[in-house]
């Protein structure tokens, strides 16, 4: 076989593989959306969940998911950003750095149930945070840091060395070069990392069952005092997220319409991830324009 024929055949195989992946992904999405969208109704979006009667909604769980995502990103992004900057800009090439990298990767392969139990025994019991958004967010941070650090580090590394040299040549310190030149340039890559980890946060259940809890106290959306248990803003209240709700409905739910609720909630979860992705991309573009147009 001559190289040209091999080339044709190989490219054809690549097309098949890409098509295969698209097929798998598309049928998964279709399966979830087709089963879920018929369950949508005004009540479904605006009512709190019901324990044993038909017609429960998911408003509280949906809010909890977004709020938990926000808090988790607020806690974990600075840490991941800092670590990624250290690893890509400052860390010397030695055994210690290797050790740090290995540690981070080991963290990523922890089963989420182990993270959840660790969070339960440390945050919930030992530190006395109780079943709360705070405990849940800390557990999610543990679970989320490796991937986030890694993607941000990759994004920083992808910025050509010439840009750094230009910064240094202007007499900027290394830190200034990083925060003013490298970070803005790496923003799209960083954003992808945040989006990917946001998806995982949305979908995570096992780490939250024991930390943020599996019950959602009724929220009063007119109460904005963050110390009140019924206030949506309170970070010390237990908060069942959408993914945990799906888990709970499937495992121990006794409402007659459990299957429908779980199907509808899965579809909403996907749409929420989609919405978040679009929003993050939009904000990211704005942010980058602002940062680079000075």
């Amino acid at each position: 076989m001559n190289p040209k024929k091999v080339d044709k055949a190989a490219i054809a195989v690549l097309y098949v593989l890409a098509a295969l992946i698209v097929l798998i992904l598309a049928s998964l999405l279709a399966f979830i959306l087709i089963r879920g969208i018929p369950q949508f109704s005004w009540e479904f979006f605006t009512q709190p969940a019901k324990t044993f009667e038909e017609g429960g909604g998911i408003i509280i769980q949906l809010f909890n998911s977004f709020y938990m995502l926000l808090i988790t990103l607020l806690i974990s992004t600075p840490v991941a950003l800092g670590a990624a900057i250290y690893l890509s800009e400052y860390a010397p090439q030695n055994a210690l750095t290797d050790f740090i990298r290995t540690a981070i990767e080991v963290l990523s392969s922890l089963p989420s149930i182990v993270v959840g139990l660790f969070g339960y025994l440390i945050f919930v019991i030992q530190w006395g945070f109780g079943f709360s958004i705070l405990s849940g967010s800390l557990a999610l941070m543990i679970f989320n840091l490796p991937l986030l650090t890694r993607t941000i580090e990759d994004a920083l590394r992808a910025i050509p060395g010439a840009q750094r040299e230009a910064g240094l040549a202007l007499g900027l310190s290394r830190w200034e070069t990083v925060t003013r030149i490298v970070l803005p340039a790496a923003m799209p890559g960083i954003l992808t990392g945040v989006i990917l980890s946001a998806g995982r946060i949305f979908g995570e259940a096992a780490a939250l069952i024991y930390t943020a809890g599996q019950s959602a106290p009724a929220l009063d959306f007119t109460n904005w005092n963050p110390r009140s248990i019924s206030s949506p803003l309170n970070i010390m209240r237990p908060a069942e997220t959408l993914a945990v709700h799906i888990w709970k409905v499937n495992s121990e739910g006794i409402m007659p319409d459990g299957a429908e609720i779980s199907a509808g909630a899965s579809a909403i979860l996907i749409l929420a991830v989609l919405l978040f992705n679009l929003l993050a991309r939009y904000l990211g573009r704005k942010l980058q324009q602002k940062l680079t147009s000075a």
Binding site: T179, A218, P226, S228, I229, S251, E252, I254, G258
Partner: protein
């Protein structure tokens, strides 16, 4: 320093939230946490919601995690109420003398099979033999020629402990087989896998699975109250010592007439007040008036 804004904004927002949480006006609110048996969770949650609705500013925070978690957390004093569907005495490692038992309801447990199985009644001995692996084909108990697929609950689950202590004779042991942890998953596997048998609590039974009667007795609430249907267990709410304050108030509420007569039957449980028999931690049955 305009360009440092990203980091700063984030830090600012974060500290803002922490600040707000710490300094908001104090509210007259009280909450307790009940942890444990996931099978009991819907019951306690529904009662807690109703209680919060009637008592402004009081919250009952209900979490699952399993009976083992409930018992060890209440024994450690980490929560106010430990929910369990087995007696604390049945878990050797728990110091039951510290704990005060509150029996709040009863739940029946029934064998369920795939809807296509031609069997609707089974003797207690045969049922035990199916789960020990001595009977392996439905034809041996009067059904079609189909291999029996046994689906058990996770070892240590309260439902399994109740099932084995009431169905098995001394010395019988469950075969090593498929296990699942949650009632919902068990139900959906039984409804979709030909030849499968398992068991779930009454509130979880629906049309997708077929229930079996045992020795001609139907799995129904009226048979549980007389112990004619013998696979049942109490729903316990344990407190560490005598309950006080909100905890005491809430347990009294669960035991009050409106909850016992109205809410509990609607959830598929049996009010503790209706029981005509009592069971102790060793499984002995005592007739009451």
């Amino acid at each position: 320093m305009k360009r440092m804004n990203v980091l700063n904004k984030m830090l600012f927002l974060l500290s803002g939230i922490i600040f707000l949480s710490a300094c908001g006006p104090v509210v007259e609110e009280e909450s307790i946490t009940a942890v444990g048996s996931s099978a009991m969770q819907p019951l306690v949650e529904a009662a807690g919601e109703q209680y919060s609705g009637e008592n402004f500013g009081k919250f009952i925070n209900v979490q699952g995690g399993g009976s083992g978690t409930g018992l060890s957390q209440i024994a450690a004093g980490a929560v106010e109420i430990g929910n369990s569907d087995i007696f604390a005495e049945e878990k050797e490692e728990i110091d039951a003398s510290q704990l005060k038992d509150h029996l709040v309801a009863v739940v029946g447990i029934t064998p369920i099979v795939h809807p296509d199985i031609d069997v609707s009644d089974v003797s207690k001995e045969d049922l035990a033999k199916i789960f020990t692996g001595e009977i392996t084909n439905w034809s041996e108990v009067g059904g079609q020629d189909l291999e029996i697929v046994v689906l058990n609950r996770a070892s240590g689950s309260g439902t399994r402990a109740t099932f084995e202590s009431t169905v098995f004779e001394e010395g019988q042991e469950a075969m090593v087989t498929q296990e699942q942890e949650s009632s919902g998953t068990v139900r959906s596997i039984v409804s979709s896998t030909p030849g499968t048998i398992s068991y779930i609590a009454f509130p979880y039974v629906d049309d997708s699975v077929k229930v079996l009667s045992i020795n001609g007795v139907e799995p129904a609430d009226e048979n549980v109250v007389t112990d004619d249907w013998f696979i049942w267990s109490y729903q316990h709410m344990y407190t560490n010592g005598e309950p006080e304050g909100l905890t005491k108030d809430f347990i009294e509420y669960v035991l009050s007439e409106p909850v016992q007569e109205n809410l509990i039957p609607r959830l598929g449980y049996i009010p503790i007040t209706q029981m005509e028999v009592q069971k102790d931690a060793e499984g002995n049955i005592i007739e009451t008036e």
